[in-house]
């Protein structure tokens, strides 16, 4: 199951990158007020409103030889960032960013700065306090953000189809495969693949939520 593995890989790395990017961004947005903050927030949410294939089209151009992506790709001798795993990653990350930033931003806002201040007075550095206090307190937000990001990457295929090129074993993810099977009227295969995808996702989601439940019990809520 090349496609399944590839999909999981893409979803996993997208989620990791999203969390890494979104954390400082959300923290910054939650704890600072500055002129034009709302502009930044709107820009982050903007990729959402374009149809995925159209967004994919623009990304394709941006990643291609005439866009910034091509410029970057030339650094190691390629002509384009599209049609590669890294291209897919970039697309997924841009597309899912708001789903990850917003829950985190809300979480950070509601937690406020007080716990951090207390941790400081108890000799914890920012990094330390962040790891031991803020992150655990924001765990529900992180779980939300990660599941939304992960699931969305799993299901998303417009962008991926466009900038990935649907190359089997390379950029063909499972959602495209199911899509193709439905298009090709291979309903049986599509049902099976959908069932596998749903089953896996369901297992994963229940595992996450079950953990969260016990976290809640002991946690802040």
């Amino acid at each position: 199951m090349d496609a399944l593995l590839l999909t999981l890989k893409l979803a996993f790395f997208s989620t990791v990158i999203l969390i890494i990017i979104a954390t400082p961004l959300a923290w910054f947005l939650a704890h600072n007020t500055f002129k034009g903050k709302f502009l930044l927030e709107a820009i982050i949410a903007l990729p959402l409103v374009l149809p995925p294939t159209v967004l994919g089209f623009y990304l394709l151009i941006a990643l291609g030889p005439n866009g910034p992506g091509g410029f970057i790709a030339q650094l190691w001798g390629d002509r384009t960032l599209a049609f590669s795993f890294s291209g897919l990653l970039i697309g997924s990350v841009i597309y899912s960013l708001p789903f990850v930033v917003q829950p985190l931003q809300n979480g950070f806002s509601l937690i406020g700065k007080k716990p951090l201040e207390v941790a400081y007075t108890l000799n914890a550095s920012f990094k330390d306090a962040w790891r031991t206090i803020i992150f655990p307190l924001a765990k529900p937000a992180y779980i939300s953000a990660a599941t939304l990001g992960f699931a969305h990457t799993l299901g998303e295929f417009g962008v991926v189809l466009m900038i990935g090129g649907n190359i089997p074993g390379e950029t063909q993810v499972i959602s495209i495969k199911i899509f193709e099977q439905v298009e090709a009227l291979q309903y049986q295969d599509a049902h099976v693949l959908s069932a596998i995808l749903l089953g896996l996702s369901f297992l994963m989601l229940t595992a996450i939520y079950a953990t969260r439940k016990s976290a809640n019990k002991t946690g802040m809520l």
Binding site: G64, A82, L161, G165, P168, E180, L185
Partner: protein, 239 residues
């Protein structure tokens, strides 16, 4: 890295980008091709438009099997110089056939024309005339069959011919215009083949995107009788 593929190897893998409607037929062609030549193919399918956009952004495809002739020709104009492609890079490889497929057999009581105009068939589906050649053909056929314009109000547009079929297959509409290749194993009673005079030829054109031996070999194979036999079996005419 994908462009740095070795030219020295005799057994190459080529990427064949195919319009979604021809994908199954291409799969049927894959085995004989791989048996008769040392080469392997990878099948990449999407809509013709998407493939065009990807190729123009240097997607690593070797062969482009479009569902129309306009897109490959347009592409050829843009790239033939830089890639040193002759006119022989283009070739029509199949000709689609339009049928009207309905949930219930059309009888004398309900002719095709009536199905299009009366209220018994509340909805009919077809592919998007702006995007899909089958859509355009469907539109032409209707206009050929009837002068009534009521069909416009009851038509449901699928993005491509596959969706047009799904609308019928899921019982949401009573019937619609689909490709013969999609309904080969359905009850022939439900199928009315449309007179080919009613619509322009649905010529499907292939474009070879480079001059590698494997690509050349595939183009040759596509026009071989063995291949043509399979294509015909799958519901297409030959040019």
């Amino acid at each position: 890295a994908m462009f740095a593929r070795s030219h020295l190897s005799h057994a190459d893998t080529i990427n064949v980008a195919v319009a979604a409607n021809f994908k199954q037929t291409l799969q049927a062609l894959k085995t004989p091709f791989e048996k008769t030549t040392p080469h392997r193919i990878k099948i990449i399918s999407a809509s013709t438009g998407q493939l065009l956009q990807q190729i123009s952004q240097h997607a690593p495809f070797d062969i482009f099997l479009a569902a129309n002739t306009a897109h490959p020709q347009l592409l050829w104009q843009h790239i033939h110089e830089s890639r040193d492609l002759g006119l022989d890079a283009l070739a029509v490889y199949a000709k689609g056939r339009l049928v009207f497929f309905s949930r219930t057999p059309l009888s004398e009581a309900v002719s095709l024309e009536q199905a299009l105009t009366n209220k018994m068939f509340t909805r009919i589906s077809m592919a998007n005339p702006k995007l899909a050649p089958y859509g355009l053909a469907a539109q032409q056929s209707i206009e050929c069959l009837t002068s009534d314009t009521y069909w416009r109000e009851k038509s449901v547009i699928g993005q491509n011919v596959a969706q047009a079929f799904q609308f019928i297959d899921s019982n949401n509409v009573d019937g619609g215009f689909v490709a013969l290749s999609q309904v080969l194993n359905k009850d022939p009673g439900n199928i009315s083949v449309i007179d080919e005079a009613c619509y322009d030829d649905i010529n499907q054109m292939a474009l070879r995107l480079n001059n590698q031996p494997a690509s050349l070999a595939f183009m040759t194979f596509l026009q071989s009788t063995a291949a043509q036999h399979i294509i015909r079996q799958n519901g297409y005419h030959l040019p």
